[in-house]
Assembly symmetry: D2
Homo-oligomer: 361 residues x 4
Amino acid sequence: MAENTLGKLFRITSFGESHGPAVGVVIDGLPSGIDIDTEVIRQQLRRRRPGQSIYTTPRNEADEFEILSGIYNGLTLGSPVCIVIQNQDQRSNDYDELAQIYRPGHADYTYSAKYGNRDHRGGGRSSARVTAGWVAAGAIAEQVLKMYVGVEIVAWVDSVYGQQCPQLPSISRSIVDASAVRCPDPETSSRIEKLIEDAKNEGNSLGGVINCSIRNCPAGLGEPVFGKLNARLAHSLMNLNAVKGIEFGEGFEASKMKGSHMNDSFYKDESGVMKTKTNHSGGIQGGISNGQEIFYRLAFKPTSTISLQQETVNKQGENVIINSTGRHDPCVLPRAVPIVESLTAITLLDLWLENKTGSIK
Amino acid sequence: MAENTLGKLFRITSFGESHGPAVGVVIDGLPSGIDIDTEVIRQQLRRRRPGQSIYTTPRNEADEFEILSGIYNGLTLGSPVCIVIQNQDQRSNDYDELAQIYRPGHADYTYSAKYGNRDHRGGGRSSARVTAGWVAAGAIAEQVLKMYVGVEIVAWVDSVYGQQCPQLPSISRSIVDASAVRCPDPETSSRIEKLIEDAKNEGNSLGGVINCSIRNCPAGLGEPVFGKLNARLAHSLMNLNAVKGIEFGEGFEASKMKGSHMNDSFYKDESGVMKTKTNHSGGIQGGISNGQEIFYRLAFKPTSTISLQQETVNKQGENVIINSTGRHDPCVLPRAVPIVESLTAITLLDLWLENKTGSIK
Amino acid sequence: MAENTLGKLFRITSFGESHGPAVGVVIDGLPSGIDIDTEVIRQQLRRRRPGQSIYTTPRNEADEFEILSGIYNGLTLGSPVCIVIQNQDQRSNDYDELAQIYRPGHADYTYSAKYGNRDHRGGGRSSARVTAGWVAAGAIAEQVLKMYVGVEIVAWVDSVYGQQCPQLPSISRSIVDASAVRCPDPETSSRIEKLIEDAKNEGNSLGGVINCSIRNCPAGLGEPVFGKLNARLAHSLMNLNAVKGIEFGEGFEASKMKGSHMNDSFYKDESGVMKTKTNHSGGIQGGISNGQEIFYRLAFKPTSTISLQQETVNKQGENVIINSTGRHDPCVLPRAVPIVESLTAITLLDLWLENKTGSIK
Amino acid sequence: MAENTLGKLFRITSFGESHGPAVGVVIDGLPSGIDIDTEVIRQQLRRRRPGQSIYTTPRNEADEFEILSGIYNGLTLGSPVCIVIQNQDQRSNDYDELAQIYRPGHADYTYSAKYGNRDHRGGGRSSARVTAGWVAAGAIAEQVLKMYVGVEIVAWVDSVYGQQCPQLPSISRSIVDASAVRCPDPETSSRIEKLIEDAKNEGNSLGGVINCSIRNCPAGLGEPVFGKLNARLAHSLMNLNAVKGIEFGEGFEASKMKGSHMNDSFYKDESGVMKTKTNHSGGIQGGISNGQEIFYRLAFKPTSTISLQQETVNKQGENVIINSTGRHDPCVLPRAVPIVESLTAITLLDLWLENKTGSIK
């Protein structure tokens, strides 16, 4: 069974291959009567867009989208919203030799093993190009969360190749976008820019970490015992290409702690709002949001596509040497920031709708 | 919407509260005609059972299970298998004072915020007691995977409070169970035992890391783009109490690597089998198993229940001091090992069945 | 993939075989904080119970149920409610010869063809015994609908073997239960009682029609385009043993009508409430309730189990003559009335919860 | 929660409004490596197309479709297939007055009650125009069933306004299409043609019955207890506009029968194949196909759109008189034949894939 739908109540169904006619998404479960600002969709797509800076792949896609259904007179109808993004700069013949080769680190071999027939051009279905549809859907989810719940989601590049951003007080999207590599600390940003340039020149690629912060999320989101908030977020985000790890709050550090240190003490603030003195848990207890900031970190491996010589195997089972020449990102993290935000918004809106059905009133 | 069902084709539905009449599970989608060895279920339940050693909670539950349906003449019928485990050693009045208090680090407050009505006794629905049902289901899934696919799953305690096990060549369940704390290296095991004893005496608790290895898994499991193998495993395992992070292969280390180092080169071995020279990816590419060992690590926070004094808030919104007295595990990791294996088996069998429907032949 | 779960937000998972240890149900998605009256469950189970009159099977089952989870202090917890009904009067050896024979009209052959391993005792999983769990769940759904939405559901026997009840003004459950065969018209009831007695003496069985009326259902329930109210009800009810047809409003009569006759004209009544002058549609337009009475009819075939000689085939593929001797209902309709109501309530509560998520406010 | 997806393993997600930019479908779960003949899609769309004869609506839509994804080199990839059909002959201003009026028998009022914001043009989302996408998907499902399972599906018009076709031995699609109204008996066809012409001239519309026959379906399809073959088909087909009833085999006639008459005796034919002497059940026992012909009938109400004067209510709650002038079918049945076949194929392929997962081998 294929699984190209994400979500329970707010659901997105993804379609499209990197070098087919189009990629896109069908959004089902978007409530009716909501005013959608298409400019917000455009903005997030622009942040994900290839070719936006020298730190990203030179593939040039305007990523113009068309809404085929579900919106009438600017308001949602309660019916599915289909958004299509045409593929333009395809240069399929760049990929001719790759039809016969399983690139190291890529999904070429596993797709062949699973599906037999494979669209090798630009990675086909396994390409991060398909996330354009996710970002369009996420931009809609985010609007709804902002308007009706007040939630704010900000992701940023925390480290690349081990160069890590210091802890900063309050990070906004404008601060993030002030950096060409979406790292909010100017000094770290410069170091990362230099690292990426070097990697690019070297024909190599770099991994890194993206942090994500959700503010103003009400308590009560998350559906135990198999739809816990952290489980649902981990599921969504682990579907993002190149993600190899996720941790909430203290994450792996928590494995080195004692309970007396890890536990976040509750208190009521002067206005009677429930708060915690620390936030080691990352805003989640028992799989349910507690009203504090939700915080997690995502480990990205370096992009598989590099121009350096590599040993591998071809379709005929022969050992071969490969020199990739396709366009690629030396470091995917700057462009992955809006995708992380989008998957977060999609999952959070879904859980917010789910939570509405948990009480009868 | 509640989410107490895990899986798509092989599905388990969990029910029960810690101190209600029983906990249990309904398994749907178990193919017909399979010979189930109930002794294997008994074994895994025994490994999860409280009171099995001085390193675990003294709550005493025999964890006898009853199969109410779905098996006839020792063979599965293709109909749902309902397994019930009675709660015996309940001592509900141990928890009377907790009805009014939100313990730090616990799900008391978030359950109250979400559900209003809450069974506070022993954590109610949020208790790890409900994982007894998961383990029973997992023991069935594991049998099927072993018999029909040849898959082997082994989890172990890799570290507690930072004391980490060295890398060992091949870890089997009998090696793991030779250690009272399920750490396969005798020396590290001793150190961890000491740490847990100290924490117990101190009234404190400790976090740690569990590693899991899946061997002999065929290539092709995992369903892009939203049911990737790593995403599905992360989802299942993040639903396990106290898990704060998961990483596959190099995981967070990959964020500090270059592509030329991270990429695993393919080669055909002398018998023509596709292999990789390294396994930095943890056996997964593009969200699909590649036939190599699948490997991941789980960060567990220290148990929330400690006997030390803590500040918190009660139901009336007053700041109070709490001294927990309920029985608890100073370190959940030894008992979590079979739960990790169970959730892994449930997810893997599901994806194996899903993969069968991806081709028509 | 097995499908033993019904519903999307309010979901019931059915388990159990006729002569296994127990049958039952797990209800997930029941909102928290609801006061459940277990006496209502008992009542509906009593109306479904075998042995309640001379018109039903003499199998004697008290149908005592046990609630294992999900309710604390009389209120729902928002966690799954597991209800178990033990099988008592099993007389399994009554069925020994049936292990080898495919009874005409029964599911013996199709279950064998599909599952291989089959529990032949009393029909095993294909027995209507499993509907006891559905009725328990339905009694809960009905309470919620009554308390929070004001919905009333009444089903009755409209005809047996062609003897049809005249149209009556307003049928309540007490009127229905005043008849031993649940036909609200005393004269037709007498005729049907006589017919059933004759069929019983003859060793034969009879078909019939059950009508169902839903009153006070708000407008807006039903989820186009694939979860239309009529589609969802048809799905649920077609899963009930022996149902061979369903029609809404005019149903098959509508196929002989013109639009000018079929269309129900809208008007606003004196209090400004939207109404229709006629109700040919049965209260549904475009798959959504319009606020009028919802009405449908279900065709039941005669029970397959009869005592008359019949020709059939055995497991060895030999032509044989069969004389069934198992206990059975000569006419299932009187006992099917509460099952129809239950499936209706389950589906309606589900759609009511779904409708809550369609708007954002 | 919206429900615009049909199916479990083979799933179609429908999108589009009658007078929006396009209607379409995303097909997920189509196995990889299948050779798709787009001409078959074109053919079925042509049979559903408006304006194909004087008996159908004069709206003129070429129904050209575009495949955006999921097929490469003529073979399926195992990824989602998105098919888009542009809306061309929209004449939206034909519908201006309808924005304010709730037409009798239409979904105008219920959509307003449910969604608030409504695209009134041509019925918007409630229009049968959206079934174009279903037919495209059905044409694909049918190919797969034919190629890999040998299944044949034929539907035809059995009656219109009470004029009923006599029972015919073996009905093929070419016989059906030889009639302008898709009634396989030439004499009845003529009578029906005359009836439709009269209704058209009168500004009225007519109901009727469509029969559907599935041949060569293997035994074992259908998933008790909530995914029975008849329940799944009833669900799919009841989602088709204007369907008010469905019956399998003897259907409502069975309610007037005795068990001794209704039961279909099994026998093995000379080649050892299991057969039944009669087929009163319509090829289904216990919700599972028995290998015989599957047969059912669908009652269609007359189209709601008529040109005759009707009383109704407008948005402001005033009683008004309406004269519809939009283009419409005086009788939808001829065009509904391929839609019935398509929904049948979609459901059957889904259940065929589901059945594959029921056994482990």
